[in-house]
Each structure stands twice: as C-alpha cells, then as structure tokens.
C-alpha cells in the first residue's frame, strides 16, 4: 500500500528556494507543512510514501535538497530510503540527484549533528530518536537572522 503526495497538488505549482527567509513555497516550508507529517503517517501505517515531482513550474535544486535532506536528518537515510519512492516522468534526473547526493550528504550531517538552519518558527515536527521511537517536538530553534 502507498500514499501519494504530489508537490503540485499538495503544496504548490511554483516551488521556491531553500528557506522560508528567502522565498515563499520553500523547501523548508514544504518539509514542515507537508512532508514531515505525511512521512510519519506512512511510517506508522507501514505504507510507502510516493512523492510525485511532476507538473510544477520547475525546481531549484535547493528546494528538493532541503526538503528531502531534512527528512534524512530527522529520520535517517536508512528509514527514508526504505519508505520513500520519488517519481518523475518529466525530469527523472532529480530522482538520481536526491537519492545519490542529497541522502548521503544529509546523512553525514546527521551523524555529525550539524543542525539544519531553520528560518521561521514551525509547528512541532516528528523525528526518530536514538531509541528508534518517533517523537514530536521542536528539535531546533528558528534562526531568523
């Protein structure tokens, strides 16, 4: 069983850049408003989460890197790889970039505890703790500078 998220239909036809501080419809916003909770729900339902990248007006690499990178940071590369399927018939090269580059780079950041930058206050979000439990909270402070 899978749950499907379309970035165009569930977030925006016009994805922005990396952070909320520099653009609307940012990767940071997509992660906090859509992706984090959807991924958590897929995990507890034992479903695969399918993310459809098609039909938007195009991506900046930073949008996708921030969104999927944050997912790895909060849930680990292993969990994300097993639970997420990214689809794109229009630009399949994004799938390679995310799975070959973003996942590895952000896993390294996670292991080094190099916190991602958060540029706006968000609602509590989910992550996996060291005991393998899914927990909800504010895991980093917003830096609005």
């Amino acid at each position: 069983m899978s749950k499907i998220i379309s970035i165009r239909n569930d977030f925006s036809e016009y994805p922005g850049l990396r952070h909320c501080s520099i653009s609307e419809n940012s990767g940071e916003e997509f992660y906090h408003k859509v992706l984090n909770k959807s991924f958590y729900e897929a995990l507890i339902s034992d479903e695969k989460l399918v993310i459809d990248l098609d039909s938007t007006a195009g991506y900046a690499p930073s949008f996708l890197d921030e969104a999927f990178g944050r997912l790895v940071y909060d849930f680990t590369k292993n969990i994300v790889e097993n639970k997420i399927e990214i689809v794109s018939t229009e630009e399949p090269s994004w799938i390679k970039d995310i799975t070959n580059l973003t996942y590895s780079e952000w896993e390294t950041r996670r292991l080094e505890s190099s916190s991602p930058k958060i540029t706006q206050k968000h609602d509590d979000w989910y992550k996996v703790n060291d005991d393998g439990e899914y927990v909800l909270g504010q895991w980093a402070e917003a830096n609005t500078n």
Partner: protein, 160 residues
C-alpha cells in the same frame, strides 16, 4: 536447327546480361538513396544540437545583460530538460549517444544560477536579476569550460 539453338542461347545470354545490369543499377541506386537518407538524418540531428547550443548561448546573454527573471529561468530550465531528453532518446537509439550526456551540464548550470545571491535576491519579486561581476565571471567560466560538449556531440553523430 543448330543455328537456331545458338541464337536462342545468345538471346538468353543477352537477356541475362541486361537483367543483371538493371539489378546492379537498382542496387546502387538503393544504396545511394540509403546513404543520402542517412546523411539527411544526421544533418537534421546535428542542426537540432546546434539549436540547443544556441538556446543556451542566448540565455547566457540574456542573463548577463540583466534581462532574465528567476522564476522564468526555473521554467526555462525545465523546458530545456524535456527538450533535450526527447532529443537524446533519438540520438541514443540511432547513434548510441549516452542518454545522460548533457545531464552534468544541465545540473551544474542550474546549480550555479539558482545558488547565486543575485538570483536569490530577485526571486520573491521575480524582478530582473542584477548580475554582479562575480555572477558574470561564474557564468563565463562555466560557458568556457563546457560549451565544447555540444561540438563533441555533433562529432559523435557525424562519425557514426
């Protein structure tokens, strides 16, 4: 009667020479036609690659003369990706060109442009990007290092 037999065999020989000559002419004509068709097809795809190269060159010029807008550029990058993908599928089938031949070029260019602070500053308002000296230099460096891949692709098509 013997003369008649000779005449018939002569006629058969002459006929077979004529038929063989026609067959030879037809075969050569077909080969020439196929060769000509292959050349026409190559020329067509070489022109397609030149068009792509020119589109990128024009876009560089547009960016460097402060005439491009960030959100329009994102759309343009996507349209170019789809256009190139269609072309490379044909080139892969006909001339064994790598399907991902231009992916590093597209990826690196998109990264250089969208991570630049001039691009980011203009993004929310989608106003014309005011290109600084640094941005211009990065673009020119990229263009200088990478524009030859189009010529290499043309050579590969031509030599196939």
């Amino acid at each position: 009667m013997c003369n008649q037999l000779i005449d018939v065999s002569d006629v058969i020989s002459i006929l077979s020479i004529v038929v063989n000559a026609f067959i030879a002419i037809w075969v050569v004509s077909e080969i020439q036609k196929n060769t000509s068709n292959r050349r026409i097809l190559k020329d067509h795809f070489i022109n397609e690659v030149k068009d792509i190269k020119d589109l990128y060159k024009d876009k560089f010029n547009q960016i460097m003369t402060n005439k491009s807008k960030p959100k329009d550029l994102l759309i343009w990058f996507k349209v170019m990706y789809i256009k190139i993908d269609d072309l490379l599928k044909c080139l892969n089938e006909l001339y064994d060109v790598d399907l991902a031949y231009l992916e590093p070029y597209q990826r690196d260019l998109r990264y250089i442009v969208t991570e630049n602070s001039d691009f980011i500053d203009a993004f929310s308002s989608n106003s014309e990007i005011q290109v600084s000296t640094v941005f211009m230099r990065d673009l020119m460096d990229f263009h200088q290092k990478n524009h030859k891949i189009f010529n290499k692709l043309i050579i590969q098509i031509n030599n196939n």
